[in-house]
């Protein structure tokens, strides 16, 4: 029997959900926080894209003066920093937030307030690092900040100060989220969801969280050294004191290489969600996909010096890192083949989400091949620090991460808004994007191998680079148009898109069993999971018979959907629904409220926001050290500390959610 006696919840002294802006500031609901991440990240993606268009306009032809050298150096630095730390990582974070609790059958993440804290630190850090460009004070040492260029001796201005402080702030955001999601995935899975039944997105995200918590401390230390050098006169990177610039490079890339797997593995996870649904068959080789993901994560810590093949580490180090880099190509290639064979024998539907997922396969393969070319140090000496490597990493980051994230957005948009993105606009986005990105980045392989260095604000005529650069610029403009179409699609579909039911795609995992958008408590009752494909089990159990099930047999999934409270499944999958004609929104079916169901919901609170604010103010105090007086610095330091300590005290002494009286 499913009707429950609703247990008594202590009446909340404050309402659990506010409205308007304050509602967003106080939210602790992972779905709303995920939305915040998504829209902020998309904004920064546009910001970084604008920076890219400026770069490409300046490089359209030789000897152009669209922007000055100083401005260009700020722009290319911020393009990299913005795209990596403010766009792609937060887009992944958006999906961590939106999806992980739903995919594992949980009501929220382990620490909802810490979750909100992570987001606010990210936003504030993003503002700190992005605003100075309007004052010509943006970071200009490259996104990788090699010393000694970024030391006081060669960059005395505030630009690099902004960079180090900004990155430290953003690192805190990622670390906090890492602890949160590790705990969530380990400890809050629904009964029956053992690790080998988790959806692939959750698995890849799980690996990514470990990469975050182990890699970010290393760049934290590298940045601490640079902060200390710049502000307190230490000697970590001071050439005259005998310091070694390679210290920075090693520390940076020990972080930096796992970072690129942090950037791509969530997109891989999303592709692993999308392809099976639209091929109508399960992921090929699920265990191998899990192990290869873990292996990539682990090996990712052993390849970092392949970014340093030109620095003269010596033949033994060069050989070691060359071999580990080649080794990591194996699990990556295995994934590509498993995805292709997921499609093999299927009945492929070319929705926009699936187009982007397949696009990732096509483009990441190219990026992977150029990556293997880089893995041979002697050959790399002709490729590194040229446009060839720019081509490589844009293929894997744009053609890889971003395309996977786009696939995820088209796939999950209906789940979280209740409306489908327009497929026709989506096709325009996809094709223009595919054409544009290939036109932008493929010629870069050639300009690089024809001698064009990286990070140059202009180049001379008659070097043989003109045509390639022109093509890249045209391609970049096409990508810009495609992106604008995408943004328009999102804005329009959020309001006027076709309505979607619980499961417009006919997908197998738990998040598709609940309403679109989901109620605040996610699941009326935490489901008991019996296999890797809970929803497909229900529809066609014989097709998933060889997938591990519980010993008690093939239980029907106990998931309550909408307002129905029956014990057996009342689940209406819509596998063949034409996305243009969806089912009514879930709210129209009369979903029960949390109070009616006796489910405690975490309080909305602004304490995480104020804690983030206090922390960021504290860290920004150093930015005033250039002023003649130290009063602003101490003011910000102690003021920020006061806000932080007060917020933390209030945070730790207040309960997360109302008490549940036990029956």
């Amino acid at each position: 029997m499913a009707t429950l006696a609703a247990p008594a919840i202590a009446a909340a002294t404050t309402p659990t959900e506010y409205s308007g802006v304050w509602g967003w500031i106080t939210t602790t609901d992972h779905k709303r926080i995920g939305r915040l991440y998504l829209f902020t990240a998309l904004f920064f993606m546009l910001w970084g894209g604008a920076e890219a268009e400026i770069i490409r306009t300046q490089l359209r032809a030789p000897n152009m003066h669209f922007v000055s050298a100083a401005t260009y150096n700020e722009i290319f630095t911020m393009h990299g920093t913005t795209m990596i730390f403010l766009a792609v990582m937060p887009l992944s974070a958006a999906f961590f937030n939106l999806l992980i609790p739903l995919q594992i059958g949980a009501r929220d993440v382990a620490f909802p307030r810490l979750n909100a804290f992570s987001y606010w630190v990210y936003v504030l850090g993003g503002i700190v690092i992005s605003l100075p460009i309007f004052f010509h004070a943006a970071p200009n040492g490259g996104w990788f900040g090699y010393t000694p260029l970024t030391t006081n001796a060669y960059s005395p201005g505030i630009n690099i100060d902004v960079w180090v402080i900004g990155l430290q702030i953003l690192g805190i955001s990622s670390l906090a989220a890492g602890f949160n999601f590790i705990t969530t995935i380990i400890n809050m899975r629904a009964p029956g969801m053992n690790l080998m039944r988790m959806p692939m997105f959750t698995w890849m995200s799980f690996v990514v969280q470990f990469l975050i918590i182990l890699a970010f401390p290393v760049i934290t230390v590298a940045l601490i050294f640079l902060v200390f050098d710049r502000f307190f006169g230490t000697n970590f990177y001071t050439t005259a004191a005998g310091a070694d610039p390679l210290l920075w490079q090693h520390l940076f890339w020990i972080f930096g290489h796992p970072e690129v797997y942090i950037l791509v593995l969530p997109a891989f996870g999303l592709v692993s969600e999308v392809l099976p649904t639209f091929a109508r068959k399960p992921l090929f080789g699920y265990p191998v996909m899990v192990y290869s993901g873990i292996l990539i994560g682990v090996l990712g810590f052993g390849v970092w010096a392949h970014h340093m093949f030109a620095v003269g580490m010596g033949p033994i180090a060069d050989s070691f890192f060359s071999l580990t880099t080649m080794l990591i190509a194996v699990p990556t290639g295995v994934k590509i083949f498993n995805w292709i064979f997921t499609l093999w024998g299927g009945a492929i539907r070319f929705t926009v989400a699936n187009c982007f997922a397949i696009g990732l396969l096509a483009m990441f393969t190219i990026g992977g091949i150029s990556g293997v070319m880089h893995s041979s140090p002697p050959a790399d000496l002709q490729q590194t620090d040229t446009y060839f490597v720019v081509a490589h990493f844009h293929y894997v980051l744009f053609g890889g991460s971003l395309m996977g994230l786009f696939a995820g957005i088209y796939y999950y948009f209906p789940k979280f808004t209740g409306r489908l993105l327009d497929e026709r606009l989506g096709y325009w986005h996809f094709w223009l994007n595919l054409l544009g990105s290939n036109l932008t980045f493929f010629p870069m392989h050639f300009s690089g191998l024809n001698g064009m260095p990286r990070r140059i604000y202009t180049y001379d005529a008659d070097q043989g680079w003109d045509t390639y650069n022109l093509l890249s610029t045209i391609g970049a403009y096409l990508v810009g148009v495609a992106t604008l179409i995408f943004i328009y699609n999102i804005l329009r579909s959020a309001r006027h898109g076709q309505r979607a039911g619980n499961d417009p795609w006919g997908a197998p995992s738990l998040e598709w069993s609940i309403a679109s958008p989901p109620p605040i408590y996610n699941f009326e009752r935490i489901p008991t999971v019996t296999s890797r494909y809970p929803l497909w089990d229900v529809k066609d159990p014989q097709l998933t018979a060889d997938v591990p099930h519980t010993e008690q047999g093939d239980f029907r999934l106990r998931v309550v959907v909408g307002g129905e409270h029956e014990g057996t499944v009342q689940f209406h999958p819509e596998p063949d629904v034409d996305p243009r004609h969806g089912a009514p929104l879930a709210s129209e079916r009369g979903t029960a409220t949390a109070a009616e169901l006796g489910i405690p919901i975490p309080y909305s609170t602004a304490k995480p926001f104020f804690a983030a604010l206090g922390l960021v103010i504290m860290l920004c105090s150093l930015l005033t050290s250039h002023l003649d007086t130290h009063v602003p610095m101490y003011g910000l330091l102690f003021g920020g500390a006061a806000v932080l300590v007060a917020s933390l005290y209030a945070w730790f002494t207040s309960p997360l959610e109302p008490e549940v009286a036990h029956a």
Binding site: N73, N338, T365, P378, D462
Partner: protein, 444 residues
């Protein structure tokens, strides 16, 4: 969207890409695909292997993907596909096969690493490279040469570059000779190769490939591969002090101490400008209507060798346009004698060295002893001619962003400080600059 059209579109796209690839197979003038040294060839051997393997993998995987999405697209009335969860044999196949392919790349890779990073043999020509923001200092310790932004290499002889930086990180790259190597503070890196004997007398581009600040894009150098005999002539001449001197001596005067290492040949007697023994100078003096030449006091002066300017290929010639708003008075002719006097009293001597001019012994900027023998100025940015040299001295910071060299033209605005240059702070009029340029152009 009808499905066959989508599949057809993808094939069209692939064809488009193929056409682009083929079209792009024309090599540019700085291409790395045509090696000209054993180092370049070793790399090229690996590159060809990587390219072939990469092409095969690309064709195989993309064809498999395109075939899959065309063949298995959903058709009307089709039953639900069979749920296949995996295939162990396939997994092993596509794990082991790439591993074997990679091993076939790994073995020649490691061999090449050790071969190309072995110490250079002692018979190599030694060139010391010092990276500066944003120019290249080159020294040939075996010859006593100190020069900037140009490297002369004898064909068929191994050259060993010792790479050091005086400030931030840089990277030394001659794309057509081989790979690059970074210049790391507090480290010395080495790069060696042998320009092919079959190379003619040719010119090559060199670039800085590690972001080093404002004018990283403008930090270029030129390389000239020449016949060994010509190289010797060039090197011996470059090691000499200039004979364009300030003091007409009665006895030969020793060369002043500059930043050049020991082993430099004794400087010839210095005489006044109008009667210098250097045949080149004599030519200029004759043109300007000066006194007839005086026979050299001591040793026969080598006329030196310079790569013929008319042989410079278009990609090696500097085409950088002059910035807007920078102009020089037309119809000004410079007087070299007056120019030398002005030079010796101006800010130039604080940073530049001219061996043979006791006033000029600075080590911050490029050595100017044989400036007139170079083909470019400002680290390969502009051609070395009267107009560009004049404008460079007038407002170097407008010509090349961020340079340490101060703006010297009177009434010019300094782009870094936004201050206007006045005569009081050492600013020079166009006439004075033209005079200095006339002097500098005698420094062959």
């Amino acid at each position: 969207m009808p499905h066959p059209s989508r599949a057809r579109r993808r094939v069209t796209l692939a064809a488009l890409v193929a056409v682009c690839v083929l079209a792009a197979c024309q090599n540019g003038p700085n291409t790395t695909f045509e090696p000209h040294s054993e180092f370049g060839r070793a790399i090229d051997g690996l590159w060809k292997l990587l390219l072939h393997v990469g092409t095969v993998v690309f064709i195989f995987v993309e064809t498999l993907l395109v075939y899959t999405i065309i063949r298995f697209r959903r058709r009307e009335g089709q039953p639900e596909p069979k749920h296949v969860h995996g295939n162990t044999r396939l997994e092993i196949l596509w794990t082991v096969t790439p591993a074997i392919v990679l091993a076939c790349i790994a073995v020649p890779t490691v061999r090449t690493i050790f071969r190309t990073q072995a110490r250079a043999t002692p018979d190599a020509l030694q060139v010391e490279v010092y990276g500066h923001q944003w120019w290249w200092e080159f020294r040939y310790p075996q010859y006593g040469v100190v020069t900037a932004n140009e490297v002369y290499l004898p064909i068929g002889r191994k050259v060993n570059f010792a790479l050091r930086t005086q400030d931030v990180l840089h990277s030394f790259w001659i794309p057509q000779m081989g790979g690059k190597r970074d210049l790391i503070a507090n480290h010395t890196n080495y790069l060696w190769f042998t320009p092919d004997s079959s190379l003619g007398v040719l010119d090559w581009n060199g670039t800085c490939n590690e972001y080093c600040g404002l004018s990283h894009a403008n930090m270029k150098f030129r390389v000239f591969t020449v016949l060994p005999a010509d190289f010797e002539r060039w090197a011996h001449h470059q090691a000499l002090a200039t004979t364009v001197g300030a003091v007409p001596p009665t006895t030969p005067v020793a060369a002043p101490a500059t930043a050049t290492p020991a082993g430099a040949p004794a400087a010839p007697a210095r005489v006044g400008i109008r009667s210098a023994p250097d045949p080149l100078v004599r030519t200029v003096a004759q043109v300007s209507g000066g006194a007839p030449a005086v026979a050299p006091a001591s040793t026969v002066v080598d006329s030196g060798y310079v790569f013929p300017a008319d042989r410079m290929r278009s990609n090696v010639v500097a085409h950088t346009p002059i910035p807007d708003g920078l102009a020089f008075s037309p119809l000004v002719t410079g007087d070299a004698e007056r120019g030398m006097q002005t030079y010796n009293k101006s800010a130039c001597i604080g940073c530049h060295a001219i061996k043979g001019n006791p006033y000029s012994a600075g080590i911050v900027g490029p050595n100017l002893t044989h400036l007139a023998s170079r083909h470019t100025i400002a680290a390969g940015l502009y051609p070395n001619d009267t107009d560009h040299l004049r404008l460079w001295i007038k407002n170097a910071r407008a010509m090349k962003p961020g340079v340490i060299m101060p703006v010297l033209g009177v009434n010019e605005i300094d782009p870094l400080t936004h201050a206007r240059v006045t005569a009081a702070v050492g600013g020079l009029t166009d006439q004075q600059i033209a005079d200095i340029v006339a002097y500098l152009q005698l420094l062959r």
